[in-house]
Symmetry: C2
Subunit: 465 residues, 2 copies
């Protein structure tokens, strides 16, 4: 079979994607029939004057999605569509990539607040460690392992918490799990708490998840310093989910007196717990590090939650929690029947990554990278400072911009969209509906140039209004 | 520093473990002081006349557990114990390996019913695929990905279900997650069902987990054919968790008429669901394959649960479920805030493993391996057949032995222990307490020789009693 694919070389859509889309359509339409042999990657690359790698990428994707069947030594064949009734659905899925990405395609710059820079991921190191772990001598790594997570990884996490957060935790207190949401789910089974206080605004996912797990969610309002802890005492809450080091989405850092108030609240009554989500404490660009609540020395009413999603990569699904003794002793009985959710292979790779010093090096490097982006953003925002207040800066991977004239969030977002810039509102994170004139600008997966270009565009539409 | 370690060469405890234990004790006791430099692996291997690799293994473990600190170019140093109050705990942890393993150490043969043969895992292939996925060109793999799991993997799973289980599922219906327990947790949030019928006996973990998630568990008794489905109708259940292909722990295969009865029950009333756990359908040694409930053509009241824990390896934490349309459409709203629990890297490696034909080859190979072990066990059990009935054979990775004279399970287990053989009772899986004269013999991670030796020992104690 010969295929002639009209490739557009305008630099818009990559070649491999054009090849992928073309062949997919031909198969879906039936013009390439089931069992038909596709041209070899070599032949097609010559015919189209593109690299063989480009064709291979397209074929791989088509294979992964079931359109092509590779046969060793023979080549690629068009697949018979086994689920004909879904052809329309699949054809409707025009985009090569995911929906969420498709949505951002119309934007020149996307200040996504949950982004992470993956450009500096140490691929070679990770590959090397994975190769070492995946060895015949290490068959043990294939078996089920400890429901709490491997002891070695838990010990590595403790050493890290000690050196980085001044915390004294023992491996026996640590539970590893695939994502903070999952750990929170375990926690709610462990504490038996039913009324959970959360900062308002907070992560929508957390409040929605807790509510669905039959919990009553009690919003506690925040100001520039974070949760108004004195309001906590007015509630019936038996648990509080807080982000003292860098609250999302306000960016507030909880001052010491409020931290102490939180602790006092929790200690007042047995069965009260603080869930401290320390999700982005690693990235702090100015001023001294904020100690974790747990570092204040009192450990019993606190559950500490951490994650490697931001410090290593979102795909590495490793989060962890440090349980106080009162919860820890019940863990095996109440949660021991959940098998560990993180692959033991990944756990061992991560432990080695930490133990051999790669993690610290990577963190140092990323602190530099993120500080550069953070500073570039602050710098680029100077011309806007008459009209906008910046908050939540100095730490984390996003900052918050508030219109001094009270311009509505929705108007800011709409104007930005006109300029090809995607920014994110804050109002959706409030549990108590309210007007907002704030937006979030995440900078982690943008280059410094993109940051400057994005802010330049924002200035053009915002300052001329 | 020089260390002289008295190594016992009787073949009992491996050298690396002896070295590990010795140094650990020296550090815990304070005889090796904080900051002291350990001998190099080379020096110690020469001094002890063991391979350098042996010393390295011990040092690696000591490093992973925080006893040693490696300093590049300089060597290994004794760590200061950061959590002094846990020293006793750690010293108490005498064993090198996990508690559960320590417990089995006294046994010559352990017929663990949840074991999996990892000796035949295709390490080289997995390493190669991991290397391909972990490439700089594939940075995308580091980002968060789809909460349901990568589309490519879901498509691979559908092709597999189609060819192997005769099921027509679309990738859009599939949800990937780290373990069946986790998926069941999502499911209970999705269905809103509160009264769950389970086979009695069943997986303890499942019934305990569902109960803790505030579900009422309704045991339905079983006979040799599996769940007595006519009893289901007498209950108030709105959901049933079943294992029709090979029930655990009875090993029963649900006959067609009961399957149809299950389906009729579920279809009678909207909101009723069957959770079909098809955990070990791949391994069938005699007779034709048992179709899944879902393959009967009716798909709406059925949620299909599958896992790669047994077919690939327990450490590969990938399970999946196929949702019927009525549940699928609510998934994003009700469960979309749980991020995907399986690392995207692992998902892509597994998808490639499936797409490139390795999975099928591995399955074929393992079917052969397990059939060999299964047949060896059946064969070895011949002399015991006068006294014991065998059931649950022909499929899966364990079988069930029932004393014809009604000898109590506990007596069988105790006698086996005397003979150095670990076998497993059935009674603990019953929700309604009852006497049992049955035990489980898992054969997956034993060699054929070990199987014969184990049964020989059982015969010695059981037949002479």
């Amino acid at each position: 079979m010969e295929i002639s694919i009209p490739l557009a070389g305008d630099g818009g859509t990559p070649y491999y994607e054009q090849i992928y889309s073309y062949i997919k359509k031909e198969i879906l339409s039936g013009r390439i029939r089931k069992g038909e042999k596709l041209p070899s990657t070599r032949a097609l690359s010559l015919a189209l004057s593109v690299s063989r790698n480009t064709v291979q990428t397209a074929y791989d994707q088509l294979t992964a999605e079931g359109y092509l069947i590779p046969e060793p030594q023979r080549g690629y064949f068009a697949a018979g569509l086994q689920w004909n009734y879904s052809v329309e659905n699949m054809a409707a899925q025009e985009s090569f990539s995911q929906d969420t990405e498709a949505d951002t395609e119309e934007y020149a710059v996307d200040f996504a607040p949950f982004g992470v820079d993956v450009a500096h991921f140490p691929f070679a190191t990770w590959r090397k460690l994975a190769r070492e772990i995946l060895s015949e001598e290490n068959r043990e790594v294939l078996t089920g392992g400890d429901p709490r997570g491997e002891y070695g990884l838990r010990a590595s996490i403790c050493r890290y918490l000690n050196s980085s957060r001044g915390m004294r935790a023992r491996p026996e207190q640590v539970v590893v799990g695939a994502g903070t949401a999952y750990l929170l789910m375990l926690l709610t089974q462990l504490t038996g708490a039913r009324r959970v206080a959360v900062e308002d605004p907070t992560y929508r996912h957390v409040s929605r998840m807790l509510r669905r797990l039959s919990h009553e969610i009690i919003p506690v309002s925040t100001d520039r310093q974070g949760m108004k802890t004195e309001k906590l005492r007015e509630t019936e809450a038996d648990m509080a989910y807080v982000m003292p080091a860098h609250q999302f989405p306000t960016g507030a850092v909880l001052p010491l007196d409020r931290r102490q108030e939180l602790l006092r609240w929790a200690e007042e009554k047995p069965g009260r717990y603080l869930m401290e989500d320390d999700y982005d404490s690693e990235f702090r660009y100015r001023g001294k590090p904020i100690p974790s609540l747990s570092a204040l020395g009192v450990s019993d009413p606190i559950v500490y939650l951490g994650t490697f999603s931001q410090t290593v990569a979102p795909a590495i699904r490793v989060s962890f929690m440090v349980l106080p003794e009162s919860l820890n002793r019940d863990f095996d009985e109440k949660c021991g029947y959940y098998s560990q959710t993180v692959s033991r292979i990944d756990q061992e790779v991560l432990a080695k990554f930490m133990d051999d010093g790669y993690f610290e090096r990577h963190l140092n490097r990323m602190r530099g990278v993120y500080k550069g982006k953070h500073d570039a953003l602050i710098d680029a925002l100077q011309p806007l400072r008459n009209r906008f207040a910046i908050s939540g800066e100095r730490a984390g991977l996003y900052l918050r911009l508030t219109s001094k004239s009270g311009c509505a969030e929705s108007a800011l977002i709409a104007a930005a969209k006109e300029a090809g810039v995607k920014i994110y509102g804050v109002s959706e994170y409030f549990l108590t509906p309210r007007e907002s004139s704030s937006v979030l600008l995440g900078f982690a997966n943008l280059s410094e140039e993109e940051i400057r270009e994005g802010v330049r565009r924002l200035g053009e539409v915002w300052l001329t209004q």
